[in-house]
């Protein structure tokens, strides 16, 4: 622990010296009585000075939690050499706050005493954090000396984003070979009726359609559509974000990504993840609970990094973007590079859907004619970007404060239904 003298020590020494000098000069014994206590306190304080030895251990109630939930941090102090006053501060990132109790705390620690302090913290925002850096400051009984130390006992704490409610997921156009929940075009074992065909040796008797067979005078069997899984890739635009105070467009995008990942994995689809922006990050499509944790951990690492250099979407390995995958893009459409990359994907034949995270609620109210004009031009530019997607037959649904993710997905579903009808 580092030691420092408080201003009081110097002040008391000075007062004692001045008082005793004045007593000598004026030959007033009362001034001795006035000054001597300060000298005595300073001398006693220095004589009794001890360097505290305090061990610190930190434990977390749990390593993973959700946004807006509370968790506990337990700090254990073991004093080999105690102190009259010990101030304990738990350093917290700004996304975490103290829910109950004070931080810092002041206590008295005797030699050999063990104390446990509990800090209840609230996780205000998602992210990956290191919690457990403890600042200690001790004071002696006379307040003349101060000792300080920092104990780094940081432990990882992952705060996952809350899920957005989703009623119905988007159905991919194409399916894969493994069983799942999507009705495939292929015929085989399934529930949905597909077609009738003549009986061939080897067909099961229970598949015989007796009514059709009676009409035709020979055996006919039912064919069904198989149920297969699909590949879904969640594409996150991390080039730019709109921010106002603590809120930004990245927050709903990440919540949506976490919700969609969880729902698609639950119905046995393979889900992949791509963060495209200043930081390029990807995860190959896979299934299972492990993939959910991998994707959510990748989501926690996402941050907006301003950059003028960027890599083409071709830098992402081919296996990350399977050819028949549904690519679900979450983007505020603030940066043309993201829009160009998505249109490039569409040009390569990917089944692409764009959920636009509307930045309008993050834009301050325009003041004056010039700002009004600027806002209108910006809106027109955004409409032009949306127009590029529409011309490429890419559905774009706007998700803002007034609507929910479920409503945006329903809008896209309706567009895709009508598109199919138009082709037929």
């Amino acid at each position: 622990m580092s030691r420092a003298a408080t201003p009081k020590l110097g002040a008391y020494a000075g007062l004692a010296a001045l008082g005793l000098l004045a007593a000598l000069a004026t030959r007033l014994p009362e001034l001795v009585a006035l000054a001597a206590p300060f000298a005595l306190v300073a001398a006693i304080g220095l004589f009794r000075a001890r360097r505290p030895e305090i061990g610190v251990e930190v434990t977390l109630e749990r390593e993973r939690t959700l946004e807006s939930e509370e968790t506990e941090v337990q700090v254990t102090l073991q004093a080999e050499v105690g102190a009259e006053r010990v101030e304990v501060l738990l350093e917290l990132p700004r996304e975490l706050g103290v829910a109950e109790g004070a931080n810092p705390r002041t206590l008295h620690l005797r030699d050999g005493e063990r104390r446990e302090l509990s800090f209840r913290i609230r996780c205000n925002r998602w992210g990956g954090f290191q919690v457990g850096r403890i600042h200690l400051r001790t004071h002696d009984a006379l307040g003349l000396l101060r000792h300080e130390a920092v104990a780094d006992r940081r432990l990882p704490l992952k705060v996952y984003p809350n899920e957005e409610s989703v009623r119905e997921l988007l159905r991919p156009h194409d399916t894969q070979v493994f069983s799942g929940h999507h009705v495939a075009r292929q015929k085989g074992d399934g529930i949905e009726f597909a077609d009738l065909r003549p009986f061939v040796p080897g067909d099961r008797i229970r598949r015989v359609n007796w009514r059709a067979s009676a009409r035709r005078g020979e055996l006919w069997v039912n064919e069904h559509h198989t149920e297969r899984n699909a590949d879904v890739v969640i594409f996150l635009d991390s080039f730019a974000e709109a921010r106002r105070g603590e809120r930004s467009t990245l927050d709903p995008a990440l919540r949506a990504a976490a919700s969609l990942t969880s729902r698609y994995l639950r119905q046995k689809d393979r889900v992949g993840f791509v963060t495209f922006g200043g930081m390029l990050n990807w995860l190959l499509p896979s299934t299972g609970a492990g993939q959910l944790y991998r994707i959510v951990d990748a989501i926690l690492d996402t941050e907006i990094v301003l950059t003028y250099a960027w890599r083409d979407i071709a830098a992402v390995p081919r296996r990350t973007l399977p050819p028949q995958a549904l690519v679900l893009a979450l983007s505020p459409l603030l940066d043309d590079r993201a829009a160009d990359a998505l249109l490039d994907l569409r040009g390569r034949g990917f089944d692409l859907v764009v959920i636009e995270i509307s930045p309008l609620s993050f834009v301050p109210q325009p003041r004056g004619e010039l700002q009004e004009l600027g806002l209108q031009l910006w809106r027109l530019r955004r409409d032009a970007v949306r127009g590029r997607f529409e011309r490429a037959a890419v559905p774009v649904a706007v998700w803002g404060d007034e609507s929910s993710l479920a409503a945006a997905l329903e809008e896209v579903s309706a567009y895709r239904r009508h598109a199919r009808l138009a082709r037929a």
């Binding site: 408080t6 201003p7 009081k8 110097g10 002040a11 008391y12 000075g14 007062l15 001045l18 008082g19 004045a22 004026t26 007033l28 014994p29 009362e30 001034l31 001795v32 009585a33 006035l34 001597a36 206590p37 300060f38 005595l40 306190v41 006693i44 004589f47 009794r48 001890r50 009259e84 006053r85 101030e87 501060l89 004070a102 931080n103 810092p104 705390r105 002041t106 206590l107 008295h108 009984a141 307040g143």
Partner: protein, 157 residues
């Protein structure tokens, strides 16, 4: 302390009041602005007012000097305490310990002051003053002995 210095004697009260008032104002400013480097000068001003008061009065020992010293010491302690930067809530047990220590220290200062006056003045101020002086001497010896014993224990462990 300034008020006592002004009221206790009628010679040049305006001088004593002026010096004491300046010291008091400086102390108040240091407390308001939380300036620990300015606070000692305010206390020096207040102490100087008492010194001026003593030098202007007749050459007799001020019998209230031990009380004045105790009050001055308590004021200095409270002043430095109030300008400490404390973030978060103060623990009640720690607060009580500090108050008890402050009270005990002030009492000790008064006893020490009486002892010192008896030793330095060389004039018997009456049986009461002699008794206070003896008691102060006994208490001082006991405190020093206790501290020395504790220091020996802590260095040996």
């Amino acid at each position: 302390m300034v008020a006592y210095s002004v009221a206790a004697h009628d010679r040049r009260p305006e001088l004593v009041a002026g010096i004491g008032g300046a010291g008091w104002a400086l102390t108040a400013a240091a407390l308001a602005g939380r300036w620990p480097s300015v606070l000692p000068w305010g206390l020096v001003g207040v102490g100087a007012a008492y010194a001026v008061f003593l030098s202007l009065r007749e050459r007799t020992v001020d019998p209230r000097a031990p009380l004045v010293a105790a009050a001055f010491f308590a004021a200095a302690e409270l002043a430095f305490w109030s300008i400490e930067r404390v973030e978060g809530r103060r623990d009640l047990a720690v607060l009580l310990r500090r108050l008890v220590l402050l009270g005990g220290s002030s009492l000790g200062v008064a006893l020490l002051g009486a002892l010192l006056l008896v030793l330095t003045s060389g004039v018997s101020g009456g049986v009461e003053l002699e008794a206070i002086g003896v008691l102060a001497a006994v208490v001082t010896v006991a405190i020093v002995t206790g501290l020395a014993a504790r220091a020996r224990r802590s260095t040996s462990t």
